[in-house]
Subunit: 463 residues, 2 copies
């Protein structure tokens, strides 16, 4: 029989997009090895399945507080979340209620969404817990572009204290292959990509009368390995506001100006690939050094951010200019690719349900003695169809395995095509000529018989 | 047995995104009813499966030429294309080679990609054929926002001659529900969304030294029913260049200026929901009338486009301003939704392949007499596993159908979980306690036996 390759080849999501997403799914389903962490609580308030994301055991610190990061599952919604724990927090947080509400309202594609904040005794101390959206297979800008081994489960601690630790070769290699010029520098396009995403986030934060406080490389998550798809998300919002405990008479304007300077330093550090470059004494020299590899446009933008005048995020827009279009094109193209892959993959769900129906009928034992459910008539046809689908042999009697045959056959069954096929009995003495339309009817009829036998009080969910 | 709903509920793409994509797939697979169009050629050069997209039989015209639109499949790539035919075209197109190359190079998310241009005798005349990407379930801005019944197969003829024909109620209703204020006007956000997308396309076209020539509501395709997801694509590029036959000494600057005016008129017609509004005498009055419903920003932009000064697409950027951020947020959010749905759906592909493997092994007849392939050992376990998967019964002996049981069980099989299950022989005299890990090994082993029996020279493609 001929082998048709294209229908199968196009049926599955191609390339590394597919690999990335499967990897993310695998990471978010990885189960805790409870022996290794005997002290983990079973539940933290409404969350269960608590799994540490910083298992290398760094005692991360924010100000004077130890922190830990966990993945957890919300008991009601089943949603996976990232749980950030501040150890030994002995204050109340009632006075922060309006601030917390303001942060929770901020829903932006470049900000890790804050879901909840509460205090718990689940860890046998008084811990302050921040619940965020979980983005598996993310790392910080610090980890991606500087050296660090502090990734676990594709997730790194945004407050890691050891930015210069060695990084596995594979990471370094990927970074070089995908994000950097051969000289180790980020491409100018990558810098603009980051600039646009972070400025979009800051615009919304500042527009809501909030400030980020200490924006830095460790607090920006990046997801996606290919540059054009790298998505940045500002992480750990609201933590500093509460830990600094200085919001009683907040000077939000001054805090926002600090954000602008921090933003400038972050971009400069990335451009120079050096943390020393952004020490106060080196700033001007570093911007000058950038001229070797980057346009005056991006230097102008960084110089503006580091300036001493009153700065505003909207002033960046004319500096970004037509690069907005480039960014939009890239995101729209990515979106188109996702849509194409999704529409292919959705067909799999349809075929899966079809095979499940067939599996629920074929060789079903409990009706063996019921003459109405003997494997004659509808069921017999479906049994022969199953053989046609899965058990065909070549002329030489060898098994014939062809995924595209299975996919095409199931598609025709699902659409009830008027095409006919020949079904052979196993002794090859009987040949039935039957259309997919008839087979579809057999399947619907037989399945609804099983279903109605099942459904006296149980919910039938295979439909 | 308990019913667990959530794993299945989250397994399939939700909401109308899913419906839209399935509808698009169905449209692009709809087969030609060859009896209705006996005159259709079997092949048009490298394309087969030619299917008319304008079956209402309007004699569409461009200038003096009759035109028709078809969907066709490229014989080598299997790709579906949109084929635009200009009837009775009696010139050669060799002189347009550089122009055609320039258009083919333009790859932009807001432009329907031109793939090829050729002349064919397949329709028993000399027809000029333009091959474009096919975007199923699209309609023109004319059809969406004004009245027209000329949609077929979700695709309308961009050169329809009867823009005021009545439109089915369902269309009108959708439009009102999803795109318009209750007063029938488009929301200002929709106008900006359209402005940004079309300006992005024009920017690239003008930047390549080309002009669109006669941009109008009929030549912009819109895909996606929800406003925030409405994607515009400029259609039918390059046709006017060739049919007007005036590119010998092209005044490209003048043509580009016409594009700008056409762009302004298109936006004004949408804002006023009236084609009369853009008659030359009414332009200024129409812009004034817009003030009732729209901001001065959008009126300013339209006034600029309709001005008599030399206009440039980049001058629109400051007028768009921070709306670039809004647009980016919307596209990124849509992209995130797609990614979430895709990662759910990809799991279906994995489970489908697993069921296909199982189906290729269970009850396989041709080895029945081969003692090494008797249904003992590995195969027997897989047979009992199949019963465990599909044929369980409740305590009262009724079939137990639960999709989430099947999904969870297959997931554990795929991951080779160390969890164990009890498999009962059909006479219930034997109970096997077996881990998913062992079952996975049985499956791999048995499948590789079938595969190696199959693979003497055939390609094994079920892997």
């Amino acid at each position: 029989m001929p082998s048709v390759e294209s229908p199968t080849a196009s049926l599955y999501a191609q390339d590394d997009l597919r690999r990335d997403l499967l990897h993310r799914n695998a990471l978010s389903m990885a189960s805790p090895d409870s022996d290794r962490w005997p002290d983990l609580p079973e539940n933290v308030e409404d969350y269960h399945d608590v799994y540490p994301l910083d298992i290398f055991g760094h005692s991360s610190k924010i100000l004077t507080y130890s922190t830990s990061t966990y993945r957890a599952t919300h008991s009601k919604t089943g949603e996976k979340c990232c749980l950030k724990r501040i150890h030994g927090f002995r204050q109340t947080i009632t006075k922060y209620a309006p601030l917390i509400e303001a942060w929770k309202k901020i829903n932006h594609p470049n900000i890790v969404q804050l879901k909840d904040i509460f205090i718990t005794k689940a860890f046998n101390d008084s811990s302050l817990i921040f619940i965020y959206n979980y983005h598996p297979d993310s790392e910080s800008l610090q980890t991606r572009h500087f050296n660090s081994h502090e990734t676990l489960n594709g997730y790194n601690d945004p407050f890691s204290s050891d930015p210069n630790a060695p990084r596995p070769y594979s990471h370094t290699k990927n970074a070089i292959l995908r994000h950097q010029h051969s000289n180790g520098l980020l491409s100018e396009n990558t810098l603009w990509n980051y600039t646009i995403q972070l400025s979009g986030a800051l615009r919304v934060i500042h527009g809501s009368g909030l400030a980020l406080r200490s924006l830095c490389l460790n607090r920006v998550l990046v997801t996606g390995n290919v540059n054009s798809r790298a998505r940045l998300r500002i992480n750990c919002v609201a933590i500093m506001d509460i830990l600094l405990n200085d919001m009683a008479s907040p000077n939000i304007i001054a805090f926002q100006q600090e954000d602008m300077s921090d933003f400038g330093k972050l971009l400069l550090a990335l451009a120079c690939r050096s943390l020393i470059a952004v020490h106060q004494d080196n700033l001007l020299t570093s911007i000058d050094l950038m001229a070797r590899s980057y346009s005056s446009d991006i230097r102008h933008l960084i110089r503006y951010l580091l300036g001493s005048q009153r700065r505003h995020i909207t002033d960046l827009m004319p500096m970004i200019g037509a690069r907005f279009y480039t960014q939009l094109d890239a995101v729209q193209n990515h979106s188109d690719n996702l849509e194409t892959e999704l529409s292919k993959e959705m067909e799999n769900g349809r075929l899966l349900r079809l095979l499940v129906k067939l599996g629920s009928i074929n060789e079903r034992p409990e009706f063996n003695l019921d003459p109405a459910w003997s494997e004659t008539g509808d069921r017999y046809m479906l049994k022969l169809f199953r053989d046609y689908l899965f058990h065909q042999v070549t002329e030489e009697g060898r098994p014939w395995l062809d995924m595209s045959h299975i996919v095409q056959t199931l598609n025709k069954l699902d659409s009830g095509s008027s095409d006919t096929i020949c079904l052979y009995s196993r002794d090859e003495k009987t040949i039935l000529v039957v259309s997919y339309q008839e087979l579809k009817q057999c399947l619907e009829q037989s399945f609804s018989e099983v279903a109605s036998a099942a459904a006296t009080d149980d919910l039938v969910k295979a439909e």
